[in-house]
């Protein structure tokens, strides 16, 4: 019998098995459902960002209309504010930084529900502020997990493959047909591989179709075409991993029950037990960080304020040597006010130094997890999918780093313009907005 015929006969086997057809249909339904989930979250993020941008734009226009156009830079009800100074002008610039969702989010929502994606950047801000928190969601739903496309691939694909393959060869063995088959075939493994490859092709075609459905839901091809090919590549690699594993069981087993038991055990082991064990050990070695280093900045901030002016000034000068040649520095009567305005810069440095320790711990955790990928393939593929869809921990860490860069830039601008006694008018305010939004 030719291998091509074997391959085609398997189609007949498949269509005569309602259980297998139902399993495949359920897989497709779950895939489409998952893609819709991802697309709707992508849309939700985009909508939210648009809303916040609109609101910020309205707030800025109000500042321009009420203060810069009228020329009344000191509001009557809040006389301490002066929009003509860099400090207040930047404070009211309503600069936000967003983590724009990748259209590839349709394939994996990853950790997007555990992190915030918009943040107002001020000179008192930090990338670990409470307002950079995740969207409001039911924790029990988050704990149950969302059935997105990556979930379908990671947890349902191995099950569908199990259902499609569980009785290959073992059924023939139980019925006593094996000898008859071996008479016609040079090798039982080639015979089995041909049959298994039919189901691999069937599933590759199904995955490809599902990925294409995803491109219809969000503009993946337009914005990140490489995400499509990468997803396809890793989905096939994942499928092949399970197919190879199941093939080993199938070639060695003689009973349907034995096969099913071994395949189910492998599924439980790789999908549940191993990742959960790694998580458990990780959590024991690195319990959740209570962020006390970050909280301690509060006290260190008080200590900073209690320092003599000369010491405070020296620290400022060290941070921004440009201050030494500024106009305000030369006028000792104005130095005090400028120094007070510049306090945010030193506090920012304190925050950054405390965050180094915290982020170091996060890095250790991630290194630990990556060290387990060789025996925890499900976690590996999960994180690959998240990377492709821009929803991995590293993507959010990059976003936090970008927020910090913008905070640094805002502080630098505010401090230097304050020390240079810069006066801000409408065009200066608009220039701030333009400049401070750019990374």
């Amino acid at each position: 019998m030719k291998y091509r015929d074997l391959f085609l006969y398997e189609w007949k086997h498949f269509i005569r098995s309602p259980f297998k057809i139902i399993a495949l249909v359920l897989f497709v339904v779950a895939g489409v459902y998952g893609l819709n989930k991802g697309a709707s979250l992508h849309e939700q993020h985009e909508r939210e960002i648009e809303k916040i941008e609109k609101r910020a734009s309205e707030d800025r226009q109000k500042v321009i209309d009420d203060y810069f156009i009228t020329g009344e830079l000191n509001p009557e009800d809040r006389p301490w504010i002066d929009y003509g100074t860099p400090f207040w002008s930047i404070w009211f610039s309503y600069v936000h930084h967003f983590k724009n969702p990748s259209p590839a989010m349709v394939y994996s929502i990853g950790q997007s529900e555990q992190f915030g994606f918009y943040k107002r950047v001020t000179f008192w801000a930090s990338p670990y502020d409470a307002d950079l928190a995740e969207e409001i969601a039911n924790p029990e739903r988050l704990q149950t997990g969302t059935l997105d496309f990556s979930f379908t691939i990671l947890f349902l694909l191995p099950l569908v493959l199990l259902v499609l393959l569980y009785n290959l060869k073992s059924w023939e063995s139980e019925q006593g047909f094996m000898q008859l088959i071996l008479v016609q075939m040079p090798s039982k493994n080639i015979w089995l591989a041909s049959r298994v490859s039919f189901y691999i092709f069937l599933l590759v075609a199904t995955i490809l179709a599902l990925l294409l459905v995803g491109t219809a839901l969000t503009p993946v091809f337009e914005h990140s075409p490489e995400a499509f090919t990468q997803m396809l590549f890793f989905c096939i690699a994942y499928l092949l991993f399970w197919a190879a594993l199941y093939f080993i069981f199938l070639s060695g087993s003689k009973t349907v029950l034995g096969n099913t038991l071994k395949m189910s055990t492998a599924y439980l082991l790789f999908a549940f037990i191993i990742p959960a064990s790694v998580h458990q050990v990780l959590s024991t070695q690195y319990p959740p960080n209570m962020m006390t280093d970050f909280i301690d900045v509060r006290d260190r901030q008080q200590e900073l304020y209690n320092q003599p002016d000369s010491l405070f000034q020296a620290k400022l000068n060290e941070l921004y040597p440009e201050i030494l040649v500024s106009s305000v520095y030369k006028d000792s009567t104005k130095r005090g006010a400028a120094r007070n305005r510049s306090a945010a810069s030193l506090v920012n440095e304190l925050k950054k130094s405390s965050l180094l320790l915290i982020e170091e711990e996060f890095e250790k955790k991630n290194a630990f997890i990556e060290g387990t990928f060789w025996f925890s393939p499900v976690s590996y593929f999960q994180n690959r999918f998240n990377t492709i869809s821009g929803t991995h921990f590293d993507d959010y860490q990059t976003y936090r780093n970008d927020v910090q860069t913008l905070i640094d830039k805002q502080i630098r601008t505010m401090v230097l313009d304050t020390w240079n006694n810069k006066k801000i008018d409408r065009s200066g305010y608009e220039k701030y907005i333009q400049e401070l939004e750019k990374l």
């Binding site: 779950a30 950790q111 409470a130 969207e135 739903r141 947890f155 439980l268 959960a276 064990s277 590293d394």
Partner: protein, 469 residues
Amino acid sequence: MWSMIKNEWRLLIRNRVLLGVSVGFIGLLVLTIYLGNEESKEQSERYEKAKAHMCEQWESIKEMNPHGAAHYGTYVFKPNNSLSSLDEGVNNITGNVLRVEGHVQNEIVHSEASQSQVVSKFGKLKGSLILQYTVPLLLIFLAFQSISGEKQSGRLKLLLMQGTKPSKLIFSKALSVWLLGNLLLLITILAYALFIGSDMNSEIFTRTAFLALSYSLYYFVLTALTIYFSIRWSNSNVSLTTMLGIWIVWTIFLPNIIMSSVENWHKLPSREEFKTAMDDDRSQGLDGHNPEDERSKELEEQTLKKYGVDSVSQLPINFDGIVMQADEEYGNKVWDKHFGDLRKVLTKQKQSYQLGGIINPFISLQNMSMGFAGNDNLHHQEFLVQVEKYRRVFIKRLNDEHAYGGSKSGEWGWKADNAFFKSVEDFVYKPTPFAKVVSNYVMDLVLLLLWVLIACILLILGTKKMRVL
């Protein structure tokens, strides 16, 4: 019947593969509880250290303006619960740190899940993971050919010819597998009790007993259903694949789909909507930091009248403290309204999700497991409410000191001494007593009992329709 059960167990023990798998399960469960307990100890240690650190910081304030201290605030950390080694519930998802300060009710932040990349979609290796996902599969594998296998081998005919009642045979088959599940459950609970040692008290005992009951009921449903399919289908492979299909739908598909649907039926606001609505309501009230504010002026007039003086400077107290507290009380109304609405939506979501137990007993089991372990969202919300109550007492204490501690209006430089700060009580979390929350899980329990009833009816019907050949 007992002798039949004993006989079934004897057969199970004789099967080396099944014996090996069962021993493996016992080892895994004990290891799971051990690791969970170690993690609990580590987390408790970190929690105690962080708590002590905050307490020390607060008590070391030499002198500070009370309102300045309200802005300085303090931090509350979410404590660990020893039942977490059985079921961690939502603890990995929710935050650990909550800032307590004046003018604002903050949200809990810095969850464990946000501190690393993804490891496991189904959580850590807790007792619940093994008991919810893997033990049921073991029971299915043990039960699926109990009748069809007897049919295929011809043993069933022999047994019935010897006078064994079909109902007795079927129930003893079901009970023998179910008892194995219960044995694993019992070992888990005993291992847990052994590891927590002297921490065991009546509260934990009651919670653990109910947790075990919920698993036991679920195992009965699953075992009985598998036996029913074993009676219905002459081919044991068909009964196995049917039960595997049910397992997949119940544990992987439905919880996800139902929970997502529930969130669509009862929508939560986006963070921005929530914040904007609160800010809008908050801005209608009095601004404690702005003496020009109209409501502040009204309060000033009332206070002057109360003390019978003409100006704030003549008041024997510090009017700023009164304004701050009034500001706080207005804010509290706003937080109550918005956070209250949020909690109402979450409650509706929970109730709707619980109804999912009508078509999926696994949902009832999951709800009860994390609920009885004290780690579901209801318990989490209860923790947040306790912190907020503390925040109000804490801030009032500071505002009262500001108003009546000896300073006069406008004296922002006035400072309370260390003795005062030491006298402010620290937050003490009082775990919600089981008796207070048990009513939340009645629906889950009733639905699971209904499933037990359905399973029994199916077994009886199966007995009547059983074909020997």
